[in-house]
């Protein structure tokens, strides 16, 4: 009799253990998913330096809603023009001046004053 009860108790303990691990595993997966979803919507502030007649970095991966700040570190003025439709993004930036822009779509751009200076913003896909 006592042997049967003892056996029962062991089975119960094992069941509780399995249940505990299953529930915590599930919780872990839920928390992970929520976190990664939050991360993919977390907006980023990117800095692009204009120096040596180049955009540094030249290519950036961004999400819609991210902000880009260009800072002109050269001794001459530069600006930002969208390369496909030629729309003017920034005014002429003198030495030390910055321009901040919210990204809505992928963009290829260049300097309207020095057309050989090119840059690219491409969209990161949500994981």
């Amino acid at each position: 009799m006592s042997f049967v009860n003892e056996h029962h108790a062991i089975i119960k303990t094992i069941n509780f253990k399995i249940l505990f691990w299953m529930v915590s595993g599930l919780l872990y997966l839920i928390v992970q998913n929520v976190e990664s979803a939050e991360n993919s919507f977390k907006l980023t502030q990117h800095n692009v330096e204009i120096s040596g007649f180049a955009f540094v970095p030249k290519k950036l991966e961004v999400k819609p809603g991210d902000t880009i700040t260009w800072v002109n570190k050269d001794i001459v003025p530069h600006n930002i023009v969208e390369s496909i439709d030629q729309s003017v993004i920034s005014p002429d930036l003198a030495t030390g001046e910055t321009y901040t822009f919210v990204v809505k779509k992928p963009m290829v751009y260049h300097c309207g004053l020095h057309p050989s200076m090119k840059g690219k913003l491409s969209l990161t896909l949500v994981p």
Binding site: V76, L113, H114
Partner: protein, 187 residues
Amino acid sequence: MPLLIIKPLANLRNNLIFTISTFALLIGCANANEIQQAEIITDANIAAIVVGANNIDISAGKIALEHSENTLVKNFAERMITDHNAVLDSAIALVTKLGVTPVNNSLVATLAAQSTNHEANLQSLSGNAFDKSYIGHEVAYHQAVIGVIENQLIPAAQNNELKALLVSVLPAFRAHLAHCQMIQQQI
């Protein structure tokens, strides 16, 4: 190769007087280049070359602003005036700080003579002929100056700050070269 044989071929065909003077300049350049080989380029010479080279491009830009009717060409000329003034200012600020007094050498003399010649030619042109001559010369001029900075001035510079200045102005000259080459395709 002499440094400054940079007359567009079209002009050689079209203008006999210019052909003769260009030929004379070509010979002059060859001689100047031989002298240049033997000459030691001092930091004072580099200062004079940098100041001279920027001034020449500013001066040609001013003529283009007056003579050209093409928006691409005028915008480019405006860029040359703005950018080369900025480079000139930083070069003057540095040599002043270093206490270097610019000293002309044969290269400065060649640059100056060539520029006088080119400007006289520009003054006689208008319309598309002007634009082609101005832009063609800008392409050759920027190529020549990049070559001189890379192959002669940077190796010769004694002062590290002066060397750094020369290195830092190269991207400007390269961007200008790419810019006028783009315009050359469109005029």
